[in-house]
């Protein structure tokens, strides 16, 4: 008997008990759909977080003043012994052959005023390098230039939110705003970047770094951002920056270099684990669906004892009977798996449409895994009833009514 014949027989048997087959499949459908939905949620969350950090770039080193012993995390206030200065940035730029760009940053909060409107805004003192290193760009006008920095020009570039709050829809380019009481000319508007981890990147004003040092009355940098040209050189780049600064700081390691990627990888591990746990919990419901299949197959074998006897009498071998019932169970679970995949994907799509805030991302591996798992569930839970059917004695089976 060739495999297609077995399929025909299995399909016929399932068709005669439509409602029962559908209900049994429902267990698998729910299981598979749950696996796909929950894994999609986990994966979506991970992608969401990844996206939020994507602006920072995986090839970025962040140098902050002060040394702390524990890894990761920001430096503790008061731990600073030596400041980071523009000289440090200059050395890194000059001798850092692995670096694509070095961007010193001065940070402060300042009141920005335009006419009657004012707003307290994070203000970053930057060099032209900041834009390519941090991968954010002006939408209109120009970013800070080298001559702006050298001449300590009072020019500023507004983030989208700041521009909207101060100027509304009116043109801001070329206008004058007051930052901490000083007059600044607006020479650029940043492109929209949105909210990243609760921090509105568009609610920022950029000014030249030396100008910022004057305004905030400091010669210390908040941080130095370094982009490493080749992603694979991130570790050697970190070591290079360390040795350059070490030398420049009279052999004191009073600074901390953190690697964005290394910090994030532990977070991703947690999110991956979350995905697997969610998938695992959903897989339990798939297992329950499998038990449903086993249950119904046992009933089926009992009901069709006479049929099994007839088939055996006309020459069906135990193997034929075993395969027939195994295939029925597997057809149930595979069909359930297929419907479950569809339900899960449609569900994920519907959630994305109705509640866009919930991150949903259906990973192909989850679809393949859930479907494969459902097929194996059918085989696994189908074996026992099928073996029971195959082991029936033909005479007993024929006598059974």
């Amino acid at each position: 008997m060739n495999p297609m014949e077995f399929f025909t027989v299995a399909f016929d048997a399932l068709r005669t008990n439509r409602l029962r087959s559908a209900l049994t499949m429902l267990g698998v459908i729910i299981g598979v759909a749950a696996v796909i939905l929950l894994v999609s949620l986990g994966q979506g969350t991970k992608n969401y977080v990844e996206e939020q950090f994507a602006g920072l770039g995986a090839n970025i080193l962040i140098v902050t003043p002060g040394k702390i012993e524990t890894r990761g995390g920001p430096p503790v206030i008061g731990a600073t012994r030596h400041k980071l200065t523009l000289d440090d940035a200059r050395i890194l730029e000059k001798k850092g052959y692995l670096f694509g760009g070095v961007a010193p940053v001065v940070f402060g909060t300042a009141e920005v005023r335009s006419g009657a409107r004012s707003r307290n805004v994070s203000t970053l003192g930057v060099t032209p390098e900041f834009s390519p290193v941090r991968n954010i760009h002006v939408e209109v006008g120009n970013f800070v230039t080298d001559s702006d920095v050298d001449a300590k020009r009072r020019v500023c570039i507004l983030g989208r939110t700041v521009k909207r709050e101060l100027f509304g829809n009116a043109n801001a380019l070329g206008q004058v705003v007051k930052i901490s009481g000083a007059r600044f000319r607006v020479m650029g508007i940043m492109e929209r970047k949105g909210v990243s981890l609760g921090f509105d990147i568009d609610d920022i004003v950029f000014i030249p770094v030396r100008t910022a040092m004057d305004i905030f009355d400091t010669d210390a940098l908040f941080e130095i951002l370094i982009s490493v040209r080749n992603k694979n050189d991130i570790d050697s780049g970190k070591e290079l920056a360390r040795s350059l600064l070490f030398k420049n700081h009279n052999r004191h390691e009073d600074f901390t270099i953190t690697n964005q990627a290394a910090m994030l990888s532990s977070l991703y591990t947690i999110l991956d684990t979350l995905t697997y746990v969610l998938g695992g919990i959903a897989a339990i419901s798939l297992l329950v669906g499998g038990i449903g299949i086993m249950n119904i197959m046992l009933v089926t074998v009992k009901e069709r004892t006479n049929e099994i006897g007839i088939r055996k009498a006309v020459g069906a071998r135990n193997r034929d009977i075993l395969l027939q019932f195994l295939l029925e169970a597997t057809t149930l679970s595979a069909a359930g798996g297929l419907c479950g995949v569809l339900t899960g994907m449609l569900g994920a799509g519907a959630i994305r449409l109705l509640v866009p805030k919930i991150p949903m991302e259906v990973p192909p591996w989850a679809v393949v895994l859930a479907f494969t798992f459902s097929v194996f569930v059918g085989i696994f839970f189908g074996v026992y009833p099928a073996r029971k059917a195959a082991a029936l004695h033909p005479i007993e089976a024929l006598r059974y009514e």
Binding site: M1, E307, I310, V314
Partner: protein, 237 residues
């Protein structure tokens, strides 16, 4: 009968016995010697519980004896595996049961195809041969009816077609007229007689002498033993 005895026996039973194990072992069959030749039409007669069903099950390779030897075409059946027995049933035996034993949700044609399915015959060949078998018993006009839409007589004709379809060496009929009205019963016996005339070997199991008389020879069975007709009349009478 004389001409049949000249050839090799198709079925050969020597000292065949069957004991059903249990708390109290039950003897189903004891020391049966029987030869059945190609072209035979044998009736096995006995009251219920006499062991005639046990004998039929053993002849049909549905069961194996616990003692003695049973050979089909010289092949000792006693030592065969369940898989080999299934193959033997498929090739050599056609069953006709009292309660028909058709698959209720299958059409007549598909019921008749069933032995061919397990013989590994392809789809078209199967349909062709099944139709031939239905024609042989004159019920080809019902080929697309579900078997539970057929009358008793029609069902039994389909069952005969199924028994014939794989061209077995032996037709085994167990009380084939037991669930039929007398007209259908007669029609059925006529078909069996006709098939035998065309060369089929038939073993008919019945408790009814009127039916047994259609056969060329009759053996009697009581308490699991074959007895002479005189002894049978005495014990029954």
């Amino acid at each position: 009968m004389g001409s049949a005895a000249a050839s090799e026996p198709l079925l050969l039973l020597r000292g065949v016995g069957k004991v059903y194990e249990g708390e109290q072992p039950v003897v189903g069959l004891a020391d049966v010697d029987l030869d059945i030749f190609p072209g035979d039409f044998l009736a096995v007669m006995g009251p219920s519980g006499s062991g005639k069903s046990t004998l039929m099950n053993i002849l049909g390779c549905l069961d194996v004896p616990t003692s003695g030897t049973y050979e089909i075409k010289g092949v000792p059946v006693t030592t065969l595996s369940p898989e080999a027995l299934a193959a033997l049933r498929n090739r050599e035996i056609g069953f006709i049961f009292q309660v028909f034993h058709l698959l209720p949700r299958y059409t007549a044609l598909r019921n008749v195809e069933l032995p061919l399915l397990y013989a590994g015959v392809g789809r078209e060949e199967r349909a062709r041969r099944a139709l031939e078998a239905l024609q042989a018993v004159g019920i080809e006009d019902r080929k697309n009816h579900l078997s539970n839409q057929l009358s008793g007589g029609q069902k039994q004709k389909v069952a005969i077609a199924r028994a014939l379809v794989n061209r077995p060496s032996l037709l085994l009929a167990d009380e084939p007229t037991g669930n039929l009205d007398s007209k259908s019963g007669e029609e059925l016996l006529a078909i069996l007689t006709q098939l035998n005339a065309e060369g089929a070997t038939i073993v008919l199991v019945t408790h009814d002498l009127a039916i047994a008389r259609n056969a060329r020879r009759i053996v009697h069975i009581i308490d699991g033993r074959l007895v002479t007709s005189e002894e049978y009349r005495e014990r029954r009478g």
